[in-house]
């Protein structure tokens, strides 16, 4: 599985990819995570990639055909090429309080299978549990729920291994809350129409 994460410098995009790879590793799978560097400054668009496989991963090219996209910053949504290469049955998880229609991308994603595109308020959850607007750990919880690729326990363990102590625990709480939110999102309005 190939995942591409979009965000801005300082939002923990690279850490998110790394945690995904650790979660996969903990499940006994092979994983590769690496960043794509633009200019190194806070606020600049940043991409990170993660590949998960049951066999050793040889490819070193950027993820051109993602099976899943995680978009940590909705201000990137109108950037050209954001959805490039997305698999027709892929997943899209967007960090936003607004719904897909409100974000203006519902039509771009309506070809995806039902339940494969979702917007969730990760930053708000992070603020509530972590106290800082860093949505990466939170989004991974939502990712686990949406795709079923990784177990929540693996994501939680990955977060803890990368961020020991209080920071890790609060992120774990946020991730768990995100998982619940996305797992039961039928009840919410921020879902794919």
């Amino acid at each position: 599985m190939q995942i591409r994460i979009h965000g801005r410098g300082g939002q923990g995009v690279v850490s998110a990819a790394e945690m995904l790879s650790i979660a996969a590793f903990l499940e006994g799978r092979y994983a590769q995570a690496f960043p794509s560097f633009g200019s190194e400054r806070m606020g600049a668009p940043v991409m990170a990639f993660c590949r998960i496989d049951d066999h050793p991963i040889r490819s070193r090219e950027p993820v051109m055909h993602p099976d899943a996209l995680i978009i940590q910053d909705p201000t990137l949504l109108h950037q050209a090429g954001l959805f490039d290469g997305l698999d027709p049955s892929g997943f899209v998880l967007i960090n936003s309080t607004r719904g897909l229609k409100e974000l203006g991308i519902a039509s771009a994603l309506e070809h995806l299978p039902p339940g494969h595109a979702c917007a969730m308020p990760a930053t708000e959850l992070a603020m509530r549990f972590v106290g800082r607007p860093l949505p990466n750990g939170t989004l991974l919880g939502g990712f686990a729920a949406m795709t079923g690729t990784l177990r929540l326990e693996s994501v939680v363990a990955a977060i803890r291994s990368k961020f020991p102590g209080k920071v890790g625990e609060s992120n774990v709480a946020a991730a768990e809350a995100a998982y619940e939110l996305v797992a039961h999102r039928g009840a919410l309005e921020e879902v794919h129409v």
Binding site: A31, F34, L76, L103
Partner: protein, 417 residues
């Protein structure tokens, strides 16, 4: 022991297991994570019996390593790109004096234009300085090569560069099987110098050598690398016996038996090449690839043997011999000069441009049709080139090239919704 960690971290932890005694470091992207990790290990006491010196420049870094190594300490440093050039004088000095320093190169392009991303121009600039140059295909191999490097360096009294692709490997998280201290201790003996600064037994190191003896001293350096050609595969096999992994060696072949087209490359791009080779082979194309690990000494005989059945060779390299073509390609051609072969040089990935499987498959199909020029630049933006050349013809003060091209490519920031 398996860990999911950053390539740089794997290298740092492995170097630490090799019990270095002096580590010196000057920061330069993309090697920083390696030396930072080592610095932390020294400072916390985790890596004992080691002095970590924060030097004032890369020239200072290798100079400190030279002094430490001459005084009998196992020494290590790391650099890339501009830093390697800044220490160039010391690079030649270290190999000329025969000091077994191990240095990691986080391969990065050399400016101008300044560029922090991966290509092989840095290692290539020092390829004939007398250092052994080993290229890692994966982060696992990058870590493992350092263990082999210390042993090889100290056996031959010759410094070794372990080259790993900047960002692509250094900043990638991978599943790595890290060695244990017992394994390394059992495989890598303490450093026994061939020459050493010892007050109890004084010698003069670094004397001038005149015309009557210089050539002989240089021949002995050449001879050292020829011996390395024999030792490298042996050490790789011995490494396998203790650590259970295939790392190092002179080169690795992938489906080259009977392959009509063979691709040759250095470093991490081999992974993507192998993926392309698999897909093409599934499509009935006769193609294979060679990943060269020991670039210096260059394994002429092994390359010649591996290309024995090939009708055509595609050398894919992240380096450019400006005005000429390829560097790796030139070495490959030397290996097979006695036979009639078509050798296509493909310059790719310069300055960190991604090499995609799709582009590679397209390229290899073209090669198969012999529809390639002898030198090709993969995925070059000819439009931008043409426009810049026209600009230069039209007016004398056409301005800095880089700025013009970047403007052409429209490097605009994304719109905020």
């Amino acid at each position: 022991m398996f860990k999911q960690i950053e390539g740089s971290r794997a290298v740092a932890e492995t170097v630490a297991l090799c019990r270095p005694q002096v580590i010196c470091a000057y920061p330069i992207t993309p090697q920083t994570h390696i030396v930072e990790a080592l610095g932390e290990m020294v400072k916390s006491g985790e890596l004992a019996g080691c002095e970590f010196v924060n030097v004032e420049s890369e020239f200072g870094a290798l100079s400190v390593a030279i002094g430490a190594s001459a005084a009998g300490a196992r020494s290590y440093t790391a650099t890339a790109s501009q830093g390697l050039l800044f220490m160039a004088e010391a690079v030649y000095n270290a190999s000329g004096l025969g000091l077994p320093i191990v240095m990691t190169i986080g391969n990065r392009a050399i400016g101008a234009p300044i560029n922090i991303w991966n290509d092989h121009s840095d290692s290539m600039s020092m390829r004939d300085a007398g250092w052994i140059q080993l290229f890692a295909e994966t982060n696992q191999e990058a870590a493992d090569l350092h263990i082999q490097a210390f042993r090889l360096a100290e056996e031959l009294s010759c410094p070794v560069m372990v080259c790993m692709d900047g960002f692509i490997l250094t900043h990638a998280y991978d599943r790595i099987d890290l060695a244990t201290q017992e394994q390394v201790d059992g495989w890598l003996p303490p450093y026994e110098p061939q020459q050493v600064l010892d007050p109890a037994d004084p010698v003069s190191i670094g004397a001038m050598v005149g015309p009557d003896a210089f050539a002989e001293v240089r021949y002995l350096a050449h001879h050292k690398q020829l011996r390395a050609l024999e030792r490298i595969p042996v050490l790789s096999r011995e490494f396998f016996k203790t650590f259970g992994r295939n790392s190092g060696g002179l080169l690795r072949t992938y489906h080259t038996d009977g392959a009509e087209t063979v691709v040759v490359a250095l470093g991490s791009v081999n992974g993507t090449i192998q993926e392309a080779v698999d897909e093409l082979r599934a499509d009935g194309v006769s193609i294979g690839s060679i990943s060269i690990c020991s670039y210096r000494p260059f394994p002429l005989a092994d390359v010649q043997a591996a290309l024995a059945d090939a009708k055509r060779v595609v050398v894919l390299e992240k380096s450019l011999a400006v005005g000429l073509g390829g560097m790796l390609a030139t070495d490959v051609q030397m290996a097979i000069q006695s036979r009639q072969r078509r050798v296509y040089t493909v310059i790719a990935g310069l300055g960190g441009r991604a090499i995609t499987k799709v582009s590679l498959m397209d390229l290899f199909r073209q090669a198969r049709r012999d529809a390639l020029e002898s030198v090709t630049f993969l995925d070059l933006n000819w439009d931008a080139i043409t426009r810049q050349l026209a600009r230069e013809t039209a007016v004398r003060r056409s301005g800095p090239i880089a700025e013009n091209i970047l403007k052409d490519l429209g490097e605009l920031s994304s719109r905020i919704a």
